[in-house]
């Protein structure tokens, strides 16, 4: 396989769209449960934990950029094959694909669970998955530019819902957010680690890099995207702490959805139901990107045409998610995803970076002699 990717100018994108790709991948079901997941260790200091996680994300982003810059136009699959050879490189590529698949399934299962709890307890799971998969496959058939277009469009359609949080914000008990700077450093770091599931999505950068036409302008949209998602997690966490009791917040399954439970307008009495359905628009770009990553990875690693793998994987995903499992199983699955994601996205680039440099120097040395 080629290490560098040949991308036709007709399917290249401007760096500006990277913002929408990264935010769309980061926003998902993770943010709905983020406040409850982060809170237990650092308590009121979770704000600091989120900032730590944000700073760390920035470092990871720059490491990723540094790795990618050493090549002309490569993605993670090409780089791994270049560094570790054909066999090990492809094996690690499979790990990435497995991670994308399990992440996709976990998102779908969580969303099915939310639909069942909030709206239709008896709705068969395959209905939700089929709906999402039909749209996903349809969108991917449109090509990479369509995918980016969907991310762009749905970003504006979905982020509006956060404005509605002004309502719980009006009756916030700021007393609960104080005092800050009390948690110990291990607790802060533990809480920071818990943000993993809501911040996963950074890895898409490794894949779409070759598609960007103006690579010199790439930093700004990526930084803005990470800042925006960190900001939203921060805001929802502050509001949740002020809204719920300090003793019960850990036990609430979807704090962010529950925040919408108290909002009513004369023309629309139950807003949270709409938010649950609207969240499909958040899930969809998420699914599309992950799904595209799987098919694209298969194409890169094993030269399987995307058109063929597309339908087969959709079928497999629908079958897998049809066996709706209990909350414990989904929780376990999400735990596994965040474990793998943590090592793969937040640790692995730091391992990759020195190898890339050593290899480059080695090559250079051999070239001159």
């Amino acid at each position: 396989m080629d290490i560098n990717v040949q991308v036709k100018p007709s399917i290249q994108i401007r760096a500006f769209y990277l913002y929408f790709i990264i935010t769309s991948t980061q926003f998902g079901v993770g943010i709905l449960e983020a406040p409850a997941a982060i809170f237990p260790f650092a308590k009121q200091d979770v704000l600091i934990s989120i900032l730590i996680a944000y700073a760390y994300m920035m470092i990871v982003l720059f490491v990723m950029l540094l790795i990618l810059k050493q090549y002309k136009n490569a993605d993670i699959f090409g780089i791994q094959v270049d560094l570790f050879g054909k066999w090990i490189g492809k094996l690690i590529g499979i790990v990435w694909l497995a991670y994308f698949s399990i992440s996709l399934v976990s998102i779908l299962m969580r969303y099915i669970e939310i639909i069942m709890v909030f709206l239709y307890p008896a709705l068969p799971p395959f209905v939700t998955t089929s709906l999402l998969m039909a749209l996903t496959v349809y969108c991917i058939l449109g090509g990479f530019r369509t995918i980016v277009g969907v991310c762009f469009l749905f970003f504006f359609l979905t982020q509006v819902v956060f404005i509605l949080l002004y309502h719980p914000m009006m009756n916030l008990e700021f007393d609960r957010i104080l005092p800050i700077f009390q948690a110990s450093i291990p607790d802060l770091l533990k809480s920071a680690r818990e943000t993993t599931y809501s911040f996963l999505g950074l890895e898409v950068f490794f894949l779409v890099y070759p598609f960007v036409s103006n690579k010199q302008n790439l930093k700004k949209p990526a930084i803005l995207a990470l800042s925006y998602s960190a900001f939203v997690v921060l805001m929802t966490t502050i509001i949740s702490i002020g809204y719920f009791s300090l003793h019960t917040i850990e036990g609430i399954s979807y704090p962010v959805l529950t925040l919408f439970r108290g909002i009513a307008y004369p023309f629309i009495e139950r807003l949270d139901y709409i938010i649950v359905v609207e969240w499909m628009m958040v899930i969809l770009p998420n699914c599309i990107i992950l799904y595209w990553s799987i098919t694209y990875g298969l194409k890169r690693l094993f030269s399987i045409p995307q058109r063929k793998s597309l339908y087969i994987i959709a079928f497999v995903v629908i079958v897998v998610t049809s066996f709706y499992q209990s909350k414990q199983v989904i929780d376990k699955m999400i735990d596994i995803v965040s474990q793998i994601g943590f090592w793969l996205i937040f640790v692995y680039p730091f391992v990759l970076l020195p190898i890339v440099f050593i290899k480059k120097r080695y090559k250079k040395g051999r070239g001159t002699s």
Binding site: A122, L131, L135, D175, F244, T258, R261, A264
Partner: protein, 377 residues
């Protein structure tokens, strides 16, 4: 190719058929419910509901019994030809016996079920919830008692303060150790008209004692932020004003005045550690809307004296209130939270504040300004 392009649409249309539907004609929409104890450790739940079958939607009442609230709803369901749905329940009432036992077990369903809304008003009934909700049948109020009571509460709290206690706030205050909840108590008069008559004080989730509804203002002035649009009346002794009055008025004992609270705000701080002393400053901007008795308001000295007298009266009332709260060891003002922040603790343990609270000292500094007195003095 064209096949692929239109493929998703039939799939979407067909799949939509799998979604459950709810026809409004087949639903009974519960607007309020009340929980009481029944014999044999059972719960009796009273539901006020609407059905849309008849031309004019009429509120109806049904009761059911069970060991859980949902069980009671299932029992009630056997008497109603519609599906009872709680999605728009605006008011939850508890009988005072239930509240005395502790509300945690009976509020669990409201927090667990995502179908319940977070801004429903929680109230107590002086007697049983059933008795109060059933008063709809022979009382002068028109329409649905659930909405009626909810309107009473919401119209009386322009800035979401007491007597409006939404579910999410009540749940949080039950759980938090630095603050205790308060709830409004409804009772009916001889004509079966429901009215807010007192304030229920809670220790955690247990109803301990009640205060007269007049003290509502005292709690509201301690609300966070600015309090506006409240009217209240006050009775001042006339003696200090004697030197400004004409001879014939001096034998009067009291002068009654109604005020509009234009703006009120407060700050509470810990000023001393041993003994723990809180300093609460309250500022009130008032406007006189009614005055029964002679008072030469044109004279600035009279107005100044009146301000002083009001301050004095409020300080006494607050001191009495704190004394009562300390005797009962309940802290609805949330001084515990201030203490927690002062101690730089993330979470307060349950006994820690209960041991401290009866011995704390709270000082009040009230500052009243009378801004105007209407269009004639």
């Amino acid at each position: 190719m064209i096949f692929k392009q239109i493929l998703p649409f039939p799939i979407l249309v067909i799949l939509v058929g799998c979604v459950q539907t709810y026809h409004i004609e087949e639903l009974a929409i519960v607007t309020a419910s009340g929980t009481d104890f029944a014999e044999n450790d059972q719960i009796e739940e009273t539901f006020v509901y609407f059905d849309f079958e008849e031309k004019k939607a009429l509120p109806k009442i049904v009761t059911g019994k069970g060991t859980t609230i949902v069980g009671a709803a299932m029992d009630a369901r056997l008497k109603v030809k519609f599906r009872l749905i709680p999605d728009k329940m605006q008011l939850k009432m508890y009988g005072s016996e239930v509240a005395k036992q502790g509300l945690t077990p009976y509020i669990d369903m409201l927090s667990r079920d995502p179908k319940q809304i977070d801004d429903m008003a929680i109230v107590l009934s002086e007697t049983t919830a059933k008795e109060l909700l059933e008063s709809q049948e022979n009382s002068p109020i028109e329409g649905d008692i659930g909405q009626h009571l909810e309107e009473i509460i919401k119209k009386n709290s322009p800035n979401n303060e007491f007597p409006y206690v939404p579910l999410n706030r009540f749940l949080a205050e039950i759980e938090d150790h630095g603050i205790d909840p308060i709830l409004p108590i409804f009772s009916t008069d001889e004509k079966n008209t429901p009215k807010i008559t007192s304030i229920a004080l809670f220790r955690d989730d247990k109803f301990i004692d009640k205060l007269p509804v007049k003290d509502m203002l005292l709690f509201n002035l301690l609300e966070k932020g600015t309090v506006k649009n409240h009217r209240f009346e006050i009775s001042l002794p006339i003696e200090p004003f004697n030197k400004f009055l004409k001879e014939e008025h001096t034998e009067l004992k009291h002068v009654s005045i109604s005020f509009e609270l234009i703006k009120g705000n407060n700050t509470t701080q810990i000023v001393k550690d041993d003994p723990l002393t809180f300093q609460t400053n309250i500022n009130m901007d008032l406007s006189i809307v009614e005055l029964i008795g002679p008072m030469p308001l044109k004279n600035p000295e009279v107005v100044n004296l009146m301000e002083k007298e009001i301050e004095k009266q409020f300080t006494t009332r607050y001191e009495k209130l704190i004394e009562t709260l300390q005797e009962l060891n309940v802290d609805p003002i949330g001084l515990g939270n201030k203490y927690r922040i002062h101690q730089r603790k993330q979470v307060l343990t349950k006994t820690e504040w209960r041991d401290q609270f009866p011995n704390v000292d709270v000082k009040f500094d009230i500052n009243v300004t009378i801004l105007d007195y209407g269009v004639h003095s």
